[in-house]
């Protein structure tokens, strides 16, 4: 592989971390982000399940991208993504029942996560399999990291715990609103502001 080829692949990988973070910049898939970030554990679970499907669907979409006529690409992508999610769901249920027990609710939710669709449409339908793989991994890491941060903040302030362990003093009265849906918007809003500040300072 040439030096520039490697460079550009690395760029596809890292862009999802900060510069094109799926939650803070692309702002797709907020529905899943709101629903699954009430605790750090749930958020991490959602992030991992999402990353898996993201990588898988990116690879498949990039592989078949030249065979699919433009007019029917959306139904084809949706079919690919939902098939992938269902396979993951069944496999987890059959072979990793304990993991499926804790992730169970999130796996089917990935179908409605429009980042997967968004990346299929905006990236993997136009790029090579290798670049799409990198893009999928990068988006997965970026999503998992931010949703876990949101989950940790909401759990710590809204419930006084972190990954299920008590972190706040016992007299602490939790701010319940952070666990409720509006709390997710508040936290995401603050993180976006912070993210803009970082972008302006370091990436100008």
């Amino acid at each position: 592989m040439t030096e520039t080829g490697f460079r550009s692949l690395l760029k596809e990988l890292t862009k999802g971390f900060v510069k094109e973070n799926p939650i803070l910049v692309i702002m797709l898939g907020l529905c899943a982000t709101l629903a699954c970030s009430t605790s750090a554990t749930d958020a991490l679970g959602m992030g991992l399940a999402f990353s898996f499907v993201m990588v898988g669907s990116n690879i498949v979409v990039a592989t078949i991208r030249k065979l699919v006529p433009g007019q029917v690409r959306i139904p084809v992508f949706i079919t690919v993504i939902s098939t992938f999610v269902t396979i993951v769901d069944y496999t987890l249920k059959a072979y990793f029942p304990a993991l499926s027990q804790s992730l169970g609710v999130f796996v089917p939710l990935i179908v409605v996560n429009c980042i997967v669709m968004g990346r299929a449409e905006a990236f993997s339908s136009k790029n090579t399999v290798m670049a799409s793989l990198m893009d999928g991994i990068g988006m997965g890491i970026g999503f998992t990291f931010i949703i876990t941060v949101i989950g940790a903040i909401r759990e710590a302030i809204g419930n006084g715990t972190l990954f299920g362990h008590q972190v706040m003093p016992s007299q602490y009265q939790p701010f319940l609103i952070l666990i409720l849906p509006p709390g997710a918007f508040l936290v995401i809003g603050f993180l976006m502001a912070l993210h803009r500040k970082v972008m302006i300072t370091f990436y100008k």
């Binding site: 009430t38 079919t79 690919v80 269902t86 396979i87 059959a94 609710v105």
Partner: protein, 180 residues
């Protein structure tokens, strides 16, 4: 026209492949999932009726009798009820006089962090040793209710409580009717 046929055939092939791969995955995993779910249900039966050493299925997959050395020590019910975001499957036991001996939430799709707390021991253990008239949310019946709703998840809490209550009520009626 040529494009038209191409589109249709590609969609057809993609959907066919998707259906085919799902059929394969389903065939491979079906049995394992079913055994696993059965094992979980049996574990739930034991958990809600600790006194029993044997279970007799009275109504298929709905009602069991808990037996200890052949003697009936309690009933176990499996109920499905509509929760906040989907069906909740409950397994709970009562002893012969109708006191609740335990509750297990077998499956649910409630909101993680809120309604999903119906599956925690903290919520479930409230029902132990409660009688029919006490199985009511405190906020719905301050006088008799003995069950604390989960904060932010009243609908889920009410669904569980309501399902248990209605089962106990119909059980009571049946027994009263049968006595006449």
């Amino acid at each position: 026209m040529r494009d038209f046929i191409k589109m249709i055939s590609i969609l057809f092939v993609v959907c066919g492949l998707a259906a085919g791969s799902l059929a394969v995955v389903n065939a491979v995993t079906k049995e394992r999932i079913a055994t696993y779910e059965e094992r979980r249900r049996d574990a739930a039966l034991r958990e809600v009726c600790l006194d029993a050493d044997e279970f007799k299925n009275v109504t298929p997959d709905r009602v069991w009798e808990g037996l200890r050395k052949g003697q009936r020590v309690g009933y176990i019910f499996l109920r499905e009820v509509q929760g906040y975001s989907g069906p909740i499957t409950l397994v709970f036991g009562t002893n012969s006089d109708g006191t609740i001996t335990g509750l297990v939430v077998l499956s649910h799709t409630e909101t993680p962090g809120l309604g999903a707390k119906i599956a925690t021991a903290q919520f479930r253990d409230q029902f132990k040793n409660k009688r029919l008239e006490q199985v009511m949310l405190k906020k719905d019946d301050p006088a008799k209710g003995q069950i604390d709703a989960i904060t932010g998840a009243t609908i889920s809490s009410r669904a569980v409580t309501g399902a248990m209550r209605s089962t106990l009520e119909s059980l009571g009626k049946e027994e009263a009717g049968g006595g006449k």
